[in-house]
Amino acid sequence: MADPILSVRSLSKRFGGLVAVNQVSWDVYPGEVVALLGDNGAGKSTLIKCISGVYQADEGEVYFRGERTYFTRPIDALAKGIETIYQDLALAQNLDVPANIFLGREMKLRYFGGLIRMLDEGRMRKEAKTALDSLQIHFPNLSQPIESLSGGQRQAVAIARAVYWDARLMIMDEPTNNLGVPEQHKVLELIRRLRDQGVPVILITHTLPDVFAVADRLMVMHRGRKVTEKRTADTTTEELVQYMVGARDDTRMQ
């Protein structure tokens, strides 16, 4: 197997007396979709936040593309290509699709030696269209504000933005929550397409059907610890539920 793109070594994170993440080691490889499972409070989100720079781990190391990383702010992780798509999507509802794809990184035309800098709307629109096309997402009208789009379409815009900005690793937090069934399918198809383009995806979820639909491998956490790591093909819903509620634990058997 290739070298892992993300490698977490014995990572721990404590909040006062609570050990939210306890000595977790975990690898994510290029071109795979990995599900991160666990009940509420299992430590999934804390682990992810330690990877994406929201929190700093108390112990352990994170290697990204072979390099030891130490992100103090989410924006640093973003700059390295770790893109986290949260449930609230970080889109500005009042702006249109190109404006959101280029939010904070707008293209500009410079006049008078940079004295006057205007937004390059034409180029941003063209580039946004290219990015959407590469994921086969089609909007009839790019100038509509995000608030007039459906939940699945918003997910698509957030994903297209990440892909455009050269995401090397995509972390998605419950991407199918609050979506209707057809929209859930669209988002899962987009995740598959991302993998096919070589972008590994970490899927945080407790929706087991999603896991079986798109994930190549999975990791289950329970009370801050990694209790198992499996290929999706080698497990069943019943077994995963047992891991998630703590009835099974691979680490205890050893």
Partner: protein, 385 residues
Amino acid sequence: MDRVADSDTRLAERLGGDISGARTPGQHFILTLSRLWAWVFLALLIVVFVISISMTSGGSVSFLTLRNSQNILVAITPVLLLGLGQTFVIIAAGIDLSVGWVMSLASVLSALAIRAAFNAGAPLFLSAILGFLAAVGGAAVVGLFNGAIIAKLKVPAFIVTLGSGFIVRGISLLMSENTTVIGLPPGIRDYGNNALLYYLHGEGGGFYFLDRPELTGEALRRLDPIFPWPVVITAIVVGIAIFVLRKTQFGRHTYALGGNMEAARRTGIPVDRHIIMLYILSASTAGIAGFLSTLRFTAGSAVIGDALLLQSIAAVIIGGVSLFGGAGTVIGTVIGALIIAVLTTGLVMLNVEAFWQFIVVGAVVIIAVLIDQSRDLIIGRARSS
């Protein structure tokens, strides 16, 4: 392979296909109307006043005169300038309650600076420039103070700007020693009241560009200034504001802050710095308003802007800026200010008692917000269907 390709096309259809055409013609009509209603309302107002004033006066008084249009433009200048900065701040989901008092401070500062410079031997024009710098610079300091506390210490804008407004008011009264700052060089009066163009009615009449004809007595009454300097300067500021809000990254980020502050932060927009810049901008346009009022009245007044805060917010809201942030335009604010001024002037010309102005303006503000909400309701409906 075929199966994959097929599913891709279907995905594309599903992702793209279901957003247009979700609105009925009725909803579409209301939506269009809600975008344009301020223009329509302004036009209707003018028509109503033209007809009613002409009727009540038996044709002897007309609403649509050159002089009246210029009076309206001069009247909206300070309200509009305060509203311009406010437009940016409110679009970014903030509010600046200090602008009226900042305008008063700027008026006092510019009067003191002009007087001191001129008395120290500076030429008139240089004195005026120094007055401008004192007004805008002093105002910008207040804006920096507001913005820094709002952005860095996370105190709500409402509280910070209310508090700084009181402080500024105290400082203005102290600096002016609670009286009008007078003793400015008389030439200042020309800067504040001369115009770009003049039109002389009647015999030997015509346009005079940049050059006020020397007239006396009866002829003076036939002379109409067109675009007095304060109006010209305000128009330039309006033009810059339109450009900045629509065409620059600063404007884009202003909308983004109002749309989703957290998203703005996560995408790397320097949110704190932007907030500070917004309040500096808001205070600065108030500073320009204070400077212009000093030119116009040849005096500095520590109370000149006190009553203008609420008028400027009314103009912004009538113009369609959402108090929740994220939506609004500069042109909307211009229209909002015009609606207030036309209403006020028209009612005066109809000899309606002045108190009615407040009642009518208040009603228009509430109607404006109702229309905005009906638009949101329709967009919301389209979203959920």
